[in-house]
Every structure is written in structure tokens, then in C-alpha cells.
């Protein structure tokens, strides 16, 4: 597969950090921040503490200025850390988008009057091309927009899009007709019919997505935000409630001062789920970015999250479960011939056969039987034809052939064969039933034996499916093979189910059936005939080498055209949700320690007895409150790497995974701030 030319960048590249810092300050603008309501509340809280700081400087507020000043500063930092996390996540995408954009500056196109190589053309800018226009692209030129090859075939360098430097063939008709704007033709000329208006091309969409400009919140994200906003409102009321309750208590106890606005504001920010709210945008953006590092473009965040929910995977057999091509694995002679004789005949019949199957026969003859032959010059090559369904060569008076059982038998009978070895029918049947393809070899009018052509299941694929199964995902193999062959391969690869002799309408029906039963279905495809099924699937991954209809029907595009990528996509989808869930639990668990830090400190002057709630033994009320505020702020940058990388994905049953994550983020979330706040308090005690 491909090399990843986009090197995974470290989260803390210096230039990136500087850019993010600048951007994070711009994001403080309330008109931008309102998209994150929790952080907007924190910004308002910061403003309030700024006012109390100014008041304590002027003496109108009795609290020491170092305290109000420090609280205000750290509240501002809390907001900045949050915008910084978002900017950092976006920054990585922006750098990539910039390099993409540079690849299509000043492209001109030769607009043809009619789709003919000899037609006259006018030179226009790429931005003037419209859907349906036909352009001529010659060797060394850049393709000005997305389109379909109408005529010709060319070698195209798509590294600008895929990062893959090896050129690919694009030709009219078939499944390799789509070309992408921004890629360049290396050899030959093609006529391309433009299929996307400027601004709507694949590259444009990619840039938009990577930049995060068009990022919409996913339904899951919105639902989580509902929870976070509700918690924020409750904590706002909790803090507002303390004011009258504490002023009543002052009267009742006859001592102390009501809890000040600075402390109430600080308490509010500490209690509000700032940690998760600050990192929420970064988690989504970083997830898309991680996919991009794997050369996968998700056309929406929703598609990635849906991938996390998938419980049925429809996988094409060829290329995903098995290596693309069948390979010869054994020679089985019949009619008293030796294996060596058969190997010899099979080799001769395959010498001129340039198909992967043919080459695998040559290879097997060399490996197993030590036979090496060059194609003799005087050989007469018989190409495979739909009529005879045979191929081979005529050499030195002998006719070597190989082909399907019935066609080979017909051929030898035509040459005057009187009897067919009786064991042949059984043998052919046995091989076919084992999921392999029997290829019968003949020399003149004699049947020599059978080549066992087998689909080779990719190494390690069984473990992958096992992993999927333990996550509750069912795998279904889709193949054009007959049910017999399909069943054998399905058993070997250990998929849960298969669809044999699959036609487009059957794929579509299968997907609809699963969806009807409530399953989320993902599928991969590349051909135009896959397009209806792709459009129906919840998660549709199109190969970049696929046709334009397939790419348009999909919501995820794999630039490497590697169908097993679907598994990675599922993983990233789950990671995004898990990271959100884990950080939410962590954020809320933190509140327990913050209460124990702030409440005794805030109420100590009224009820000194509440000192026993100061479990952490914090030095003074002011340092206790400040420590909680500082902890609340610095936990955000400390968790940025986690938000960008995502929590580690583990394939284990739901219940175990929940217990595991609850222990780390729930229990850890309760304990960590006790330790953190105490440590910060000890540090503050040194300075104050």
C-alpha cells in the first residue's frame, strides 16, 4: 500500500504552537465563543473577577488584590487554554489545507468545443469551468477540475490528493474513469468531462473539511452539549444560591462575611464542566485529522461517528478479505499422468498468460516442480476468448490449453479424444466445493490434470474479524462467486455471513434489510454498480480509485483505496465518542475535590467548624480557592494531548470497557484533583 507522505505531526510543533496561540486569542471574541456556551460563561466569569480585581485595587473590595488578581488571571487562562486547544486542533488541518491549495493555483484548461481529440479548444482558467464542459488534458498538464475520462487513457500522478507518488492509470469506461482536479497527467492525452463546478470539487471540499470551516456539530456532540449546558446552569444556580444562604447564616451565626462575588464566581467556574467543554471542539477536529493521517477523508463528522456505531460491515471479498487474485496452489494429475507432466503442460499453457492467475501457475511450477521456461519465439499464443473460454499456446506440434472444466473437455473432444479420465469430474467438484477454482489442463487431446486456483485469505484477517466480533460488529462478505466457493472462503476467513453472486440490487436489498432490523451498516465499494448500495449504507467508504458516482454516493473516501481501512475508521469513530465520554466523567468527578477545597474555605469565617471539611489541609482559604481555580485551568492543557490523540481504543465487550474507563476516568477523576490541588496549594504557600 501507499507511503504516507503526510507525516503525522507532533502536537507541539513550534510554528504550529505559535499560530495556535494567536488564533486562540482571536477566538476570545464572544461572537465566536458563543458556539461553546460553557466557555462563554467562563469568559463572563473572568470579566466579573476582573471587575472585582479592579475594585480591590481601588479598595472598594476588601479582598486582597493579589487574590482577586490571581483568580481573574487564571480564569482568563482557563478560557484561553480552551480556545488554544481548538486552535491547535484546527492548525494541523490548516497547514495541510494550505499545501493542498497551493497545488491548484493558476491552472488553465483547454476547453473543447466538442469531445474530440481533434476539436478546436480555447484556453480558460479553471474557475471558468462548469459542469458538463469537456477539456483536453495532455501529458505534463494539470487536470483543472473533477471529471470523468470521456476518451483516451493516461498515466496520472495523484500525489497531490493521495500522497501516493506512483502514478495510476485513468481511462474511459469502466471503474477507473474518475479524475480529480489538482492531479496531473504524466503520459498520453485524455478528454475529461467536468463533473463539478468550481468551489464544489473534491479538492475544495477536502480543503473545507480539513480547515474545519464547514464543521457542523454532530448530533452526539449536541446531545452532550445539552448535558454540559444543563450542568452549567445548575452550578450557576448553586453558586447564586450560596449568596443568600450565606448572608442569612452570617446573621444567624453573628459572625463572618457572606461569600464574596469573586469566590462565588471562582466556585462556579470550577464546578462547571469546563474541562470537557474546553476540549470538546478539539476532540472532533482531531478525530477527523487522525483519519486524514490515515489517508481517509470523512465528508462529515457525522459519518465518522456513525462508523463508531456500525454493527454490520459489508466487505468486498476481493482485495479486502482475500488478496486480489486467485493463485495456483497445487497440480492434481489425472489419467495416469505424473504431477511433473501436468506441471510441464500447465506451465506451457500459462507462459503467455499475463493475468495474475497465469503468472501464479508459472510461479508454482517453478517453486514446486523446479520448471523454468522462457516463452519460445515460435510459439503461437492462443488468447483467452469468450467463445472458447480457453487459453494456451501451440508449440512444436503440441496444443497446450487450460480453462474451465467443460470448455477444456469440449476442446479435447473436438480434437478426437475418446475418453475423459473418470476421476476428473469428482476432482473438479471437490476443488470447487472447497472454495477454489479448478482449471483443467490439456495437451493435445489428453486431459492432463487440474490446477487448483485458490483465493488466498489475507494473513491476520481472522484476528481482525474476531476483534470486530468482540466489539459486537458483524462482518458480511460480498462476492460475485458462486455460493459454494463463497461459503468455503467465508468459513476460512471466519466472517459471520456472506452474500454470493451479489448483484447491485441484491447488495442494496441486503443493506435495507439490515437497516430495517435496526442495524447500522457500513460498506466499501468502488464501482459505479456499488453506488446505490453506498448511498443507502449508513457509512459508505469509497475508494479513491473508484468511479465518480461511487465517490459521490459515499460519505468517506479512502485515498489509499485500501478496503480494510474501514476497520480504522470504526476505531476512530469510537475513539471520538469515548474521549468525549471519558473526559465528561473526569470533568464532573473533579467537582467533588473542588467542593472540598472551596466550600470550607468560603464559609470558614461564618462557621469555623466547617474547617473539618478541609480534607486536603489547604493552607488558607485564599490559597485553597486559588489552588482549585489553577487546577481547573491547567488540567485543560494537560489533557490536550489526550484530546488530540483520543483515548486508547480497546476491543473488549461493552461492560468490561465501561468498568475499565470508569476506573481510570471516574475514580481517577475523583482522586487526581485532591492530589493536584494539594500540590498547587503547597506551591502557593511558598510564595504567599
Amino acid at each position: 500500500m501507499s507511503k504516507h507522505t503526510q507525516q503525522p505531526q507532533s502536537a507541539f510543533d513550534t510554528a504550529l504552537l505559535q499560530g495556535a496561540l494567536l488564533e486562540s486569542l482571536k477566538k476570545l471574541d464572544p461572537r465566536q465563543l458563543w458556539r461553546n456556551p460553557v466557555m462563554l460563561c467562563v469568559e463572563i466569569a473572568s470579566l466579573i473577577t476582573l471587575v472585582t480585581f479592579v475594585l480591590s485595587l481601588s479598595g472598594a473590595n476588601k479582598e486582597p488584590a493579589w487574590f482577586t488578581g490571581a483568580v481573574s488571571a487564571w480564569l482568563w487562562l482557563t478560557v484561553i487554554f480552551s480556545t488554544f486547544a481548538e486552535a491547535l486542533a484546527e492548525g494541523r488541518g490548516k497547514a495541510r489545507a494550505a499545501s493542498l491549495r497551493s497545488s491548484r493555483t493558476n491552472v488553465t484548461a483547454k476547453l473543447l468545443a466538442k469531445p474530440d481529440f481533434n476539436s478546436a479548444f480555447t484556453t480558460v482558467g479553471a474557475s471558468q469551468l462548469r459542469k458538463g464542459d469537456c477539456i483536453l488534458v495532455a501529458a505534463g498538464e494539470m487536470i483543472a477540475g473533477d471529471g470523468d475520462v470521456l476518451a483516451g487513457a493516461a498515466l496520472v500522478n495523484e500525489s497531490a490528493v493521495t500522497g501516493e507518488s506512483a502514478p495510476v492509470i485513468r481511462e474511459s469506461g469502466g471503474d477507473r474513469s474518475a479524475v480529480t482536479g489538482g492531479t496531473s497527467v504524466i503520459a498520453n492525452s485524455i478528454i475529461v468531462r467536468i463533473t463539478a463546478n468550481p468551489g464544489e470539487t473534491f479538492l475544495d471540499r477536502m480543503i473545507g473539511l480539513i480547515e474545519g470551516a464547514k464543521r457542523r456539530k454532530t448530533p452526539n456532540e449536541v446531545a452532550l452539549e445539552v448535558l454540559l449546558i444543563a450542568l452549567t446552569v445548575v452550578f450557576l444556580l448553586v453558586c447564586a444560591n450560596i449568596a443568600p444562604l450565606s448572608s442569612y447564616s452570617v446573621k444567624a451565626a453573628g459572625q463572618g462575611t457572606p461569600v464574596s462575588l469573586t469566590i462565588l464566581t471562582a466556585l462556579f467556574v470550577c464546578l462547571a464542566p469546563t474541562t470537557i467543554a474546553a476540549l470538546l471542539p478539539a476532540i472532533g477536529i482531531a478525530g477527523m485529522d487522525r483519519l486524514f493521517q490515515k489517508n481517509v477523508i470523512a465528508l462529515s463528522g457525522r459519518a465518522i461517528e456513525a462508523a463508531g456505531d456500525v454493527n454490520v460491515l459489508l466487505l468486498d471479498k476481493t482485495g479486502t478479505i482475500t488478496h486480489g487474485n486467485r493463485e495456483a496452489t497445487a497440480f492434481v494429475p489425472v489419467g495416469g499422468h505424473s504431477e511433473q507432466e501436468l506441471a510441464e503442460a500447465a506451465l506451457m499453457a500459462s507462459l503467455a498468460d499475463e493475468t495474475p492467475e497465469g503468472r501464479s501457475v508459472v510461479l508454482l511450477a517453478k517453486q514446486n516442480n523446479g520448471l523454468v521456461r522462457e516463452t519460445p519465439k515460435d510459439a503461437e499464443v492462443v488468447e483467452f476468448s469468450a467463445d472458447t473460454r480457453l487459453s494456451g499456446i501451440n508449440l512444436a506440434g503440441h496444443q497446450y490449453r487450460k480453462g474451465a472444466s467443460d470448455s477444456t473437455i469440449a476442446f479435447v473432444k473436438g480434437l478426437g479424444a475418446t475418453s475423459i479420465p473418470p476421476e476428473l469430474a469428482d476432482l473438479v467438484d471437490r476443488i470447487a466445493r472447497a472454495g477454489a477454482t479448478p482449471l483443467v489442463v490439456s495437451r493435445d487431446n489428453e486431459i492432463m490434470g487440474v490446477i487448483n486456483l485458490k483465493d488466498i485469505v489475507k494473513a491476520g484477517i481472522q484476528e481482525r474479524f474476531l476483534q470486530l466480533r468482540s466489539m459486537g460488529i458483524k462482518t458480511v462478505m460480498i462476492t460475485g462467486d458462486n455460493p459454494l466457493t463463497a461459503a468455503a472462503i467465508a468459513a476460512e476467513a471466519q466472517v459471520d455471513d456472506f452474500l454470493a453472486q451479489a448483484k447491485p440490487e441484491e447488495k442494496l436489498r441486503l443493506i435495507k434489510e439490515y437497516q430495517e432490523q435496526g442495524y447500522m451498516v457500513a460498506m466499501t465499494g468502488d464501482g459505479t454498480n456499488d453506488a446505490p448500495a453506498l448511498a443507502q449504507a449508513d457509512v459508505a467508504v469509497a475508494m479513491n480509485t473508484g468511479t465518480q458516482p461511487a465517490r459521490e454516493a459515499a460519505n468517506i473516501i479512502d485515498l489509499d483505496s485500501n478496503p480494510t481501512k474501514l476497520l480504522d475508521i470504526v476505531e476512530v469513530g469510537k475513539q471520538i465518542l469515548m474521549t468525549r465520554g471519558n473526559l465528561t466523567t473526569f470533568s464532573i468527578s473533579n467537582d467533588i475535590a473542588k467542593y472540598f477545597a472551596i466550600i470550607p474555605a468560603a464559609l470558614l469565617s461564618i462557621y469555623p467548624q466547617l474547617g473539618v471539611l478541609n480534607l486536603m489541609g489547604l493552607a488558607s482559604p485564599y490559597s485553597a480557592i486559588l489552588s482549585a481555580v489553577i487546577f481547573n485551568a491547567i488540567i485543560i492543557p494537560m489533557l490536550v494531548p489526550l484530546a488530540l490523540k483520543g483515548t486508547k481504543f480497546r476491543a473488549m465487550p461493552a461492560e468490561k470497557l465501561l468498568i475499565h474507563n470508569l476506573l481510570i476516568y471516574g475514580l481517577g477523576g475523583i482522586i487526581a484533583p485532591f492530589a493536584g490541588i494539594k500540590a498547587i496549594d503547597m506551591l502557593i504557600a511558598v510564595f504567599v
Partner: protein, 593 residues
């Protein structure tokens, strides 16, 4: 100690009897609400049919959630108006042998709301203010109607889970009728007969005046013309000495009221002393029966739920969480009450805190009643919660503040618990990397909104109202124990009203405009906003398709989820009320040490 151990056995016994009844009653209720045949069908189906014909209800006319909600609100509005009018005119109506005057409009408003919302907060003394007609046609009717309303709502929510791609969640009038006719009425009749046989009175006699064996002298607080306590310059109540030689013994149709009061988790006592009154609750056995009646329907509904969603383990899991929290709270309450008051101990008096306990039943039976009545939204009391130790008092207060989900009110307890389950499912679903789903239904934005509204509305009202009370002089003046304990009294009062519990910490004079009016508002908001949110959620859930569980689905009927749900409930409660509790019971407890 062995005495206490013996007393503790009744907790176990209660649990065994309750668990034995959950399955038969839960199964019966499922059949009733699904319109299936039960052993009562031959007897009641003609009555049911007649009611539909009279009222023009088409029993198979299924409603969408909006129509269901409007029907529910309309029904409750009519109920409220009826009771409000009755309270204002009871002096003109029959069955008023004591010639009791009408309620003031503010008190009538508060009381009418209180009974319509299944709160049964009482800013009056039953025997001194309510005629027999008011008790029976007013309060009695509402005890049935408000309970049946709560049950109808939770059944609609359960249908939301069990139905697939459906726009309807049932017919409110049918659910209301069936709940009353097949469930509440038969059990009430049996329970009332049982209570009468055990000594609870049931008559229409005028109050009886009897001479006291020994005359009693006591200090009676002086009231001003508005009914508020007079206070001297130091803020202490002004009292006058009174010598009583005879006593008036109130009478009335108590047993019939008592049965539905407990069964419908209503809690509005016939007498001011509620279930501490010997005519309402004469023996330890009636005490046991009453506790059982309180728990009966809320606990059995979990089984109804399990049956209707096709997996009874789901119901048992919720019941398990409820029982766990209930036992936990009882354990703490029993422990701190048994340990007693350290200030009293300093005076050389050892032993548990018996102040305010119903000594006829003992400490365990009092504590068990206290925990049960606040865990459910019943609000009947057999002992004085105000006299509990600070931490002891925090237990019933916390049970109310948790949102009335530990069994909870009939219907309302389960639907609020289900809303909590949805929040728990949402967060845990994310933590395992899936779009959260509960009982095969995807939890999305709409469900999150509605669940959050359901579980947080009461808490928000408590936070706002308790804050307001502290800066309202008349509200502060109502405390009889100013200071930390007074703060607990106010917190308890607003919590009890907003969560539709109705029990009082006592010690607070609730019959002042602040508590009458704002309390009425709190009860209304606390009841109907969650109710409508739950119905909206039912509608949205019913429309969704069913997602079959797979290995990647988090099982919500197993121990890990039960533990997680318990933690979510406790954490949400603790985070919302820790500061208020710190300034009330916690600091009071610390001051006493």
C-alpha cells in the same frame, strides 16, 4: 440492643413481603394497561365501558404525545378548579358537622395545587380546617386522581420504549380509568377494610369532647391576627399559659382516606399529626401495612416496566438500585438516631434520640416510616422529622432532594428514575464509544433535553426558592428555630413542595403568603414540567426504530450499570445541594459535637 435487633427484623420482613408482591401486582398492572384480560375484568369491564360511553371516550383512539399531555393537563386543571372551589365554599356545603369555615384563598390555592400534584403539602390541620366533604370528595378524590395521573404518565413513557415507529403513546383517559378502576380502587378497598379491622376509625360523627383524666397546662404560642407567630424583641415566640381540662377528639371517615393516602403516595393526613395519630395509625401492624402500601405500587411498577419492555431484568435492576439507596439511607438514619444527640449525652443521658419519635412504634419503625415516606414522594409521617439529629434530618431531606426516585411517587418515581437511567446510559454509552442506546432506542438530543428537564426541574426550583426565602423577611420569620436548623427547615419545605413530597420538617409555619403562593408555584412546576417533558420523550422514543442489542451494546440490566446509575444519582444530588446542606444540617451537626 437485642430489642433493636428484633425491631430491625421488621425491615427484612417488609422487604420480603414487598418483593413477594412486586411480581403479581406488577404483572397485573401490565395486563391492565395493555388492555388484557384480568380476573377483575368480568366485574369491572362493564363499569369501564359505561364510563367510556358516558364520557364519550373512544378506548382505541390512540393519542400522540401532545394530545396525551393536553388531556392530562386539562384533567388536572379541572381537578384543581374543583378542589379550589370546594375549599372556598365548604362552609356552605353538607357533611360539615364542625361548621368549619372556608379556606383563605391563598391557602385554598396552595392546598388545591398540593392535592392535584400528588404533593399533599398541608399548610393547615386537617381536623381543624377540612370538612368531611372536603376530605372525601376533595382530598379523597384527588388522592386517586393524582396517583392515576402519575401512573398514566409512566405507562405512556414505557410505551415509548416498547413501541416501534409509532406516533401514539396510548389514550390518557383509558389509562386514567383503568389505573383507578382496576388498581387503585380494589387495593384501597381491601386496605381500608384491613385498616378498619385493625382499629382505624371510619365514621361521619361530629367531634367528641371528653374530660381529661388529669388537667394539662402548657404554653401556647400567641398568634397575631394573620395567624403568624408573635415574637418578642429577641425573636423568641411569645407564649401564654393555658390549662386544659377537656379534649376534643376529632372523628371522621379516616380508614378510606388512609388507604389511598399511602397507596397513592399522596401523604395528606386526615389529621394534622398524620400517621402519628392513633386514629390514622393505631398499632405497629397498621404501621407496617401503611409502609407496605406506600411502597407497593412504586416498587411493582418496575416489574410492569420490565414486562412491557420485554425484559423483566431491566425492571429488577431499577428496583435493585431503589432498594439499595433506601436501605443505605435507612442504615445511616438508624445509625445516627441510635447514637443519639451528643449534647444530651453530655448531660449524662445516654441512648438514642427519641425526641419526636412515635414511641408506640419504637425507633426502627419510626425511622423506617421516615425513610420510606421521603424516598417515595408520599409525605405521610409517623414521627417528627424536625426532631431528628442534624445528619438524621439530612437523610429524609436528601431523599427528597435526589428527586423522589428511590421508589418515588406512583408513576413519577419510575419516570424520573428512567430519566436518570437515560443520562447514565448517555455518558456510559459515550465512554464505550457508541451512540448511547437504552432498551433498543437511541438516545439523542431530544431525549437528553427531556431527561435533563425531568431530573433537574425540581432541583432548580429548590435552589431558586430557598435562596429567595432567605432574603424574604416573612419567610425567615416562619422558622421556629432560627439558625442552621431553621435553614434546614426552609430547605426541607421548598424541597418537599418542589419534589411533590408533601412531608414537612415541621417547625416552619407554612401558612404565610410566601410559602402558600411560591410553594404552590413550586409544586406546579415540579409536577407538570417533568410530566410534560416525560410525555414528549415518550413521543420521541415511540417514533424510533428498535436497535437489537449486540456485544457492543452496554447491558443495562446488569450490576455494573446498576452501580453506575446509583453513582450518577448520588453525584448529581450531591453536586447540586452540597453547599446548601453544608450550611444547614452539616454545620449544625459539627456545631453539636
Amino acid at each position: 440492643m437485642s430489642q433493636t435487633l428484633l425491631e430491625l427484623v421488621q425491615v427484612l420482613f417488609l422487604l420480603v413481603v414487598l418483593l413477594a408482591l412486586v411480581k403479581p401486582l406488577g404483572g397485573f398492572m401490565a395486563r391492565v394497561y395493555q388492555g388484557e384480560r384480568t380476573f377483575l375484568t368480568p366485574l369491572l369491564a362493564p363499569v369501564e365501558g359505561l364510563l367510556y360511553r358516558i364520557s364519550g371516550v373512544q378506548p382505541d383512539d390512540e393519542m400522540g404525545w401532545k394530545r396525551y399531555a393536553w388531556s392530562m393537563l386539562l384533567f388536572n386543571l379541572v381537578l384543581f378548579s374543583g378542589l379550589f372551589a370546594l375549599l372556598l365554599t365548604q362552609h356552605l356545603l353538607p357533611l360539615n358537622p364542625q361548621k368549619l369555615p372556608p379556606f383563605s384563598w391563598q391557602l385554598a390555592l396552595n392546598t388545591a395545587i398540593s392535592f392535584t400534584t400528588n404533593t399533599n403539602w398541608q399548610n393547615y390541620s386537617g381536623e381543624q380546617a377540612a370538612s368531611y366533604l372536603t376530605q372525601m370528595a376533595g382530598f379523597g378524590l384527588h388522592n386517586f386522581a393524582s396517583a392515576a395521573t402519575g401512573m398514566a404518565i409512566v405507562i405512556a413513557l414505557i410505551r415509548g420504549f416498547s413501541r416501534r415507529k409509532s406516533s401514539a403513546i396510548g389514550n390518557f383517559w383509558v389509562d386514567l380509568t383503568r389505573g383507578t378502576l382496576y388498581i387503585l380502587l380494589p387495593i384501597s378497598i381491601i386496605a381500608a377494610l384491613l385498616l378498619v379491622s385493625l382499629g382505624v376509625i371510619q365514621n361521619f360523627s361530629p367531634y367528641k369532647t371528653v374530660p381529661l383524666v388529669q388537667s394539662v397546662s402548657y404554653d401556647k404560642p400567641k398568634l397575631d391576627d394573620k395567624g403568624a407567630q408573635l415574637k418578642d424583641a429577641k425573636g423568641n415566640p411569645v407564649t401564654e399559659n393555658v390549662i386544659a381540662k377537656e379534649a376534643t377528639i376529632p372523628m371522621g371517615p379516616v380508614a378510606s382516606q388512609e388507604a389511598i393516602k399511602e397507596l397513592g403516595t399522596n401523604g395528606g393526613g386526615f389529621f394534622n399529626a398524620n400517621s402519628a395519630h392513633p386514629f390514622e395509625n393505631p398499632t405497629p401492624l397498621t404501621n407496617f401495612v401503611e409502609i407496605l402500601l406506600i411502597l407497593l405500587i412504586p416498587a411493582s411498577l418496575t416489574y410492569t416496566f420490565g414486562l412491557m419492555v420485554g425484559n423483566t431484568r431491566q425492571g429488577w435492576m431499577l428496583l435493585g438500585v431503589m432498594i439499595l439507596l433506601w436501605l443505605l439511607c435507612f442504615g445511616v438514619l438508624q445509625g445516627v438516631e441510635q447514637a443519639g444527640n451528643p449534647l444530651v449525652a453530655k448531660l449524662g443521658v445516654s441512648g438514642g434520640n427519641l425526641e419526636g419519635k412515635e414511641t408506640r412504634f419504637g425507633m426502627v419503625a419510626s425511622n423506617l416510616f421516615t425513610v420510606t415516606t421521603t424516598a417515595t414522594s408520599c409525605g405521610a409521617v409517623n414521627s417528627m422529622h424536625d426532631s431528628l439529629t442534624p445528619i438524621g434530618g439530612m437523610i429524609p431531606l436528601s431523599l427528597i432532594l435526589l428527586g423522589e426516585i428511590v421508589f418515588g411517587g406512583v408513576g413519577s418515581g419510575l419516570y424520573t428514575m428512567l430519566a436518570f437511567a437515560i443520562i447514565a446510559v448517555f455518558v456510559s454509552g459515550l465512554m464505550i464509544g457508541r451512540t448511547p442506546e437504552y432498551l433498543g432506542k437511541k438516545i439523542e438530543v431530544q431525549e437528553m433535553w427531556m431527561s435533563i428537564i425531568t431530573i433537574l426541574t425540581a432541583g432548580v426550583v429548590v435552589l431558586i426558592l430557598s435562596g429567595l426565602a432567605m432574603i424574604t423577611p416573612s419567610a425567615v420569620a416562619s422558622m421556629s428555630n432560627p439558625g442552621t436548623h431553621g435553614l434546614s427547615e426552609v430547605l426541607y419545605a421548598v424541597a418537599s413542595m418542589a419534589n411533590n413530597n408533601g412531608s414537612a420538617f415541621a417547625g416552619l409555619n407554612g401558612n404565610v403568603p410566601f410559602y402558600n403562593l411560591l410553594g404552590g408555584l413550586a409544586m406546579t412546576i415540579g409536577r407538570y414540567i417533568p410530566a410534560v417533558a416525560v410525555l414528549a420523550m415518550a413521543g420521541s422514543l415511540a417514533e424510533k426504530k428498535y436497535i437489537p442489542p449486540s456485544l457492543g451494546t452496554l447491558p443495562t440490566d446488569k450490576l455494573p450499570f446498576a452501580v453506575w446509575l446509583t453513582l450518577v444519582i448520588l453525584i448529581v444530588g450531591a453536586l447540586t445541594f452540597f453547599p446548601a446542606l453544608a450550611l444547614g444540617p452539616i454545620v449544625e451537626h459539627l456545631t453539636m459535637r
